[in-house]
């Protein structure tokens, strides 16, 4: 699985939604609230074995930015 696919997979699991696609953002995804956002960060840290700073977590407001952030850490 590509990194993008892995991220999508984690987002589906965290948000408990079957359909999460590459357009997903905090604005258009109802389940992507602040708490799920942190759970997403925690899952990403664990899965990719990375550390995210609070400021960085705050910047990850849509799928593309999440992927970019993860890539920058690896």
């Amino acid at each position: 699985m590509s990194l993008e696919e892995n991220v999508l997979d984690i987002m589906r699991r965290v948000f408990e939604m079957d359909e999460v696609n590459t357009d997903a953002s905090q604005k258009n995804c109802e389940r992507w609230d602040s708490l799920h956002h942190l759970m997403l960060a925690s899952e990403l840290e664990e899965f990719f074995d990375i550390e995210l700073e609070p400021e960085e977590i705050a910047e990850m407001t849509d799928f593309t930015r999440v992927v970019d952030m993860v890539k920058s850490k690896m």
Binding site: E16, L35, L38, M39, S42, E53, P54, I57
Partner: protein, 530 residues
């Protein structure tokens, strides 16, 4: 099922969203009716001001009472115990936070004991698996008030699922035990009453501890039964005569001690006790007996038995976890509550003693001095073989040699020590060889290291010396023979008041002392000469 969760931290990552509704942080103003279950899951916030934190924790108790009063008693109410995830003790002597936590937990346990619908969850059982660095990720706490590290959520889910399952699980009622190599080491019919391994040093100690633990289990309401291939008269004699036997006839609700096959016996036990085979657990060291019962009575649980006596305690824990744990309203939790009380009491006691003597006095130390006889001689010989640290001469004797010394007119005493925390058994001995007209020489003096440190050695020797005085002995000689391990006894006879007459090149010291006055013994011991 829908659940309403009272919480003061973010716990959604752990309990999830499915069917769950959460209160505001520390908010008890809403107690919704339209749910099937309530959960109270508060955590101790990391606050440095201990007094303020203790007050806050004390307020949880009042909050819990208010919520319980408003919630329907027909719906399950699950209370998580409070655990201090991040203890901050700025000075050494602050106990107020711990005390407040203990008070809350005790209150919760009492609620669970008094009300069928209340269940108490020991959150510490989960927390204690992790170190403090793993438990908290401060980033998530400061960003979202999630004190417990969200990365533990999968572990938590597994643990929580098991807790929920066990809430509904039926406890087994009866534990059926074998005797030989199960409740003691060895075979009674072959090794005899004093030959079976029970009490004293390892492995006997392991079996004593195992029996004590089983006795505790029976006090929580588990029925103990016996199923053993033995002669009943032999077993009764062992109960009567072996001083280390903890579990005796009165602790077993039913027994089958005979030579029938064990499946038949277990069926008979089930009938006699009027309980189902499916509420019985069978413990036997013999794999073929276990296999027979598994084959013929599949309803009976038959766990594997550990190979080594030192594995009995972990085995016991597994036994309890698998079959005898009670999660709902519990005598186990009740006794836990009593433990909390006892701990609080012990803390109070620690500060109460003015000096060591007062502390010793409170221990209720019982010292029995008894002459060597056929019941303790094996243990005495064993101690001469094994004791290294508190051993003045380190002479090793076999049981036959001890007997020979007795036949030669030596005086051999041993000592049995107990205190209010338990019985340490025979843990010291002295060999006295008559010398001259009214003299006596200490050939051997030793004490097991597990009882050292309470002045017992002093009390023992002085008691023996007072006995010698009464018997007309007037002069005492003794030697200290140094070894690599007995350095702590080098000055023992000096402290006793003996005069060192000679010191050899190798460090051996030779002492002499008249036996004239009665030796005074501190009154913090109860001493009996038997």
């Amino acid at each position: 099922m829908t659940t309403f969760v009272f919480r003061n931290q973010t716990v959604e990552p752990f309990l999830g969203y499915d069917g769950m509704t959460y209160s505001g942080y520390g908010d008890i103003s809403q107690v919704p009716d339209e749910v099937d279950r309530y959960i109270w899951f508060y955590q101790v916030p990391p606050v440095a001001d201990a007094t303020r934190l203790a007050q806050e924790i004390n307020s949880y108790r009042d909050q819990l009472d208010l919520v319980m009063g408003a919630a329907s008693a027909s719906k399950p109410f699950v209370i998580f115990s409070l655990v201090n995830l991040f203890p901050m003790r700025l000075t050494g002597c602050e106990h107020e936070v711990e005390d407040a936590i203990v008070d809350f937990n005790r209150h919760a346990v009492n609620l669970a004991a008094q009300h069928d619908h209340v269940k108490w969850v020991d959150f510490d059982e989960f927390v204690c698996r992790y170190d403090s660095a793993t438990l908290i990720d401060w980033k998530y706490y400061l960003m979202s008030q999630t004190l417990l590290n969200p990365k533990l959520k999968n572990d938590f889910s597994l643990w929580w699922r098991r807790v929920e399952e066990e809430h509904a699980l039926m406890r087994k009622k009866c534990l059926i035990l074998d005797l030989d190599n199960t409740l003691w080491g060895g075979v009674l019919g072959e090794d005899g009453i004093d030959g079976i391994k029970l009490g004293g040093d390892y492995p006997g100690r392991a079996y004593t501890q195992w029996q004590e633990t089983l006795l505790q289990l029976s006090r929580t309401g588990v029925i103990l039964a016996l199923c053993s291939k033995n002669n009943e008269t032999d077993v009764q004699e062992a109960w009567d005569k072996n001083p280390f036997m903890v579990l005796k006839r009165e602790h077993f609700s039913a027994m089958r001690i005979n030579w029938n096959d064990k499946a038949t016996n277990i069926n008979a036990l089930a009938e006699e006790l009027n309980i189902g085979l499916d509420s019985m657990v069978f413990i036997d060291d013999n794999p073929s007996e276990r296999e027979l019962v598994k084959q013929l009575l599949p309803q009976v649980e038959v766990p594997e038995f550990p190979d080594k006596p030192y594995q009995l305690m972990p085995f016991f824990k597994r036994l309890v976890d698998d079959y005898f744990r009670i999660y709902t309203v519990t005598s186990e939790d009740l006794s836990k509550a009593e433990q909390y009380q006892a701990n609080a009491l012990r803390r109070a006691e620690q500060s109460r003693f003015a000096d060591l003597d007062e502390y010793l006095y409170s221990l209720d130390i019982q010292i029995d001095v008894l002459p060597a006889d056929e019941h303790n001689m094996q243990r005495i010989a064993q101690m001469t073989q094994k004791t290294n640290q508190f051993n003045l001469t380190t002479r090793r004797y076999t049981q036959a040699e001890v007997q020979q010394r007795l036949d030669d007119g030596w005086l051999v005493y041993c000592m049995r020590v107990s205190d209010r925390f338990g019985d340490s058994g025979i843990t010291g001995t002295v060999f006295l060889e008559p010398a001259g007209e009214n003299g006596v020489n200490i050939d051997t003096l030793l004490l097991s290291c597990r009882i050292l440190g309470k002045g017992i050695e002093d009390a023992f020797v002085k008691t023996v010396l007072n006995l010698l005085r009464l018997d007309g002995y007037r002069e005492l000689t003794a030697d200290y023979l140094p070894t690599a391990k007995n350095g702590q006894t080098a000055d023992f006879y000096d402290r006793l008041g003996m005069t060192c007459e000679a010191t050899d090149e190798d460090g051996s010291k030779h002492y002499r002392m008249p036996i004239s006055d009665v030796f005074e013994i501190k009154n913090c011991y109860n001493i009996r000469v038997l």
